[in-house]
């Protein structure tokens, strides 16, 4: 499989990365090189093989469903580019 420039622009939008036409053109070549490289996997017969979900066998850990952390909203927003009254500030999203 290979990608064209329109697919690259669509994927860039899905990934929320703005690309110029020049960048999209450059990325098309690079992505196709990488996709051609991973296509080697087509040689492998994976029929009847389960996909890997965990490299080390272990029981999923559980904990009591209780609040055991929190109560410091000022720390949570401390690194925000914009915040007010312990809320994150973003451009207006509803009219």
């Amino acid at each position: 499989m290979s990608v064209d420039i329109d697919t690259v622009k669509r994927v860039a939008h899905l990934a929320r990365i703005k690309v110029t036409d020049t960048e999209a053109d450059e990325m098309t070549g690079q992505l196709n090189t990488i996709l051609a490289f991973v296509e080697q996997l087509d040689e492998v017969d994976v029929s009847g093989v389960e996909p890997m979900t965990s490299v080390v066998k272990q029981e999923m850990k559980k904990r009591a469903d209780v609040v055991d952390d929190g109560g410091y909203p000022q720390d949570v927003v401390a690194n925000a580019p914009m915040s007010e009254d312990n809320f994150f500030m973003v451009p207006k999203v509803v009219e």
Partner: protein
């Protein structure tokens, strides 16, 4: 270099315990080395001088009372991927500009609890994506090693390039690092240092900036095998804050160093003899086989038939997980924000300005392979291939193999800019990436110099939680090969 900075981590530990010198003197010696050498090597992106001196003073107080921990007073460098409370933590990316976490990673918290001293944060490839430390927002790290008779700068490998260079150049006694496809072992091999990627789940991932969560694992880079064993014991723990942390006690790894390897079965995988590999690498591998044989180990040829598919499968799994993990960098909660005409435009502008070219490439590949209609063909298939890669290893271990010996890298250090094709760069991890795909421990040990005088390393791969066996075998190689120190040109 002062006499103090010539000591290994374990020698310094013993000297501190015997009160031959103080933690403050040791830390000052390292801060002096950093001040003299960091401009040339660019290993540190932030030096925490005041914090280091305060921590060293606290260590001296504990040592005076006879209450020193396992790493009391030992000055360490920390890869910029580990969250350190109130201190520069940016994964060497522009998008995390100014980020100072209000919390501490479990790995670093463990080190401070054992008395270690933080010298600063170490340079790395952006978000740990790279094999040469050329993708850092803070510029290239320079390898302390140069070719004999040449002044050309060389890369230290990556992504833990700052960690490896700082240890090789004696700008710290040991460094934390992380390894997703080879990011501890490849730079260790290229700088003549010792690097351990532990079994997946041995070190907590909590508070470590995530790249590919099913592959990421923290480990130490040090000057000697014994130093490495001591540092891993402190880094490793059982952590309720990481669901993949394994509930198993942390052994005394140092006790395994120097232990007899007589009777251990060492597998030599024929698939690791790849075309175009320099003769020197083959010769080094044979030398390693002979050393282990001389020490009483039994050598057996094994087959790991899916080896060649590990790297292509990795370049589906790792970018897929990265595209998901890096979705959090949106200009809202931390770091860089570049305004736009609406919120989506703000996201796109922020990520376009904040991510470097290699990170964008991987996020794009990951987004593509996870997008509607392609999930089965790429991601699911890669995860099935991963099952086969792990099965290859399982079968060798079931047949009685205790550990596997391979070269660590396909070649020695190269010049920055020498590899521009992304796939050619990915091939640097051809011998290391299989280990992450199977979740196994892997140890890179320096084993010799090439004809240009550059270090080369061997890799030992262990059974799950077989770190002790690797340290025993690694110390055999270290004893036979000796230690390698670069000529000090940087200060």
């Amino acid at each position: 270099m002062t006499e103090l900075t010539k000591l290994t981590l374990t020698e310094a530990r013993d000297g501190l315990a015997a009160r031959d010198f103080s933690a403050r003197e040791l830390t000052d010696a390292y801060l002096g080395e950093i001040a003299a050498g960091n401009q040339a090597l660019n290993a540190y992106v932030a030096v925490t001088e005041d914090k280091a001196r305060a921590m060293a003073a606290a260590s001296d107080a504990r040592l005076a009372k006879g209450e020193g921990g396992a790493l009391e007073g030992i000055p360490l460098g920390i890869k910029d991927l580990f969250a350190t409370k109130g201190v520069h933590t940016q994964a060497c990316s522009h998008i995390l500009d100014g980020f100072k976490p209000p919390y501490e990673s479990t790995v670093t918290a463990n080190l401070w609890a054992d008395g270690a001293v933080m010298l600063g944060k170490l340079n790395m490839d952006e978000f740990a994506m790279g094999s040469s430390n050329e993708t850092s927002y803070y510029g290239n790290v320079v390898n302390p090693w140069k070719r004999t008779g040449s002044d050309e700068a060389l890369v230290p490998g990556g992504s833990s390039g700052g960690s490896a260079a700082a240890v090789a150049g004696a700008l710290c006694l040991g460094a934390t690092a992380t390894d997703t496809g080879g990011s501890i072992r490849q730079p260790a091999a290229l700088t003549g240092t010792v690097g351990m990627k532990p079994t997946y789940g041995r070190c907590s991932r909590w508070g470590t900036v995530a790249f590919a969560s099913s592959l990421d694992q923290a480990g130490p880079i040090t000057r000697t095998v014994r130093d490495n064993a001591v540092m891993l014991r402190s880094m490793a723990s059982v952590d309720a804050k990481d669901t993949t942390s394994i509930d198993a006690p942390v052994p005394d790894y140092e006790a395994a160093v120097g232990k007899s390897v007589r009777g251990l079965r060492i597998g030599i995988p024929k698939e690791y003899r790849v075309d175009g590999m320099p003769d020197e690498i083959n010769a080094l591998w044979q030398q390693g086989i002979d050393w282990l044989k001389d020490a009483g180990a039994e050598i057996v040829e094994i087959s790991l038939p899916h080896t060649k598919y590990a790297l292509p499968a990795y370049y589906i799994v790792a970018p897929a997980e990265a595209s998901s993990n890096l979705a959090r960098y949106d200009g809202v909660r931390y770091g860089l924000r570049v305004d736009g005409k609406d919120i989506a435009d703000m996201y796109e502008n922020t990520r376009a300005a904040g991510f470097g070219a290699e990170v964008k490439r991987r996020v794009m590949v990951g987004t593509y392979v996870l997008s509607a209609g392609y999930y089965d063909a790429y991601y699911l298939k890669a995860q099935k291939v991963r099952t086969l890669i792990k099965r290859d290893f399982d079968q060798s271990f079931e047949a009685g193999v205790d550990a596997i010996l391979t070269p660590a890298t396909p070649d020695a250090a190269f010049a920055p800019g020498a590899i521009t094709d992304p796939v050619a760069m990915y091939l640097n991890d051809i011998f290391t990436v299989t280990v992450n795909m199977a979740g196994l421990p892997g140890l890179a040990v320096p084993a010799g110099l090439n004809r240009d005088g550059l270090p080369l390393g061997l890799q030992l791969i262990g059974r799950p939680f077989g770190e002790e066996t690797l340290y025993s075998l690694g110390s055999v190689i270290e004893q036979a090969a000796g230690r390698f120190t670069p000529k000090r040109w940087w200060a």
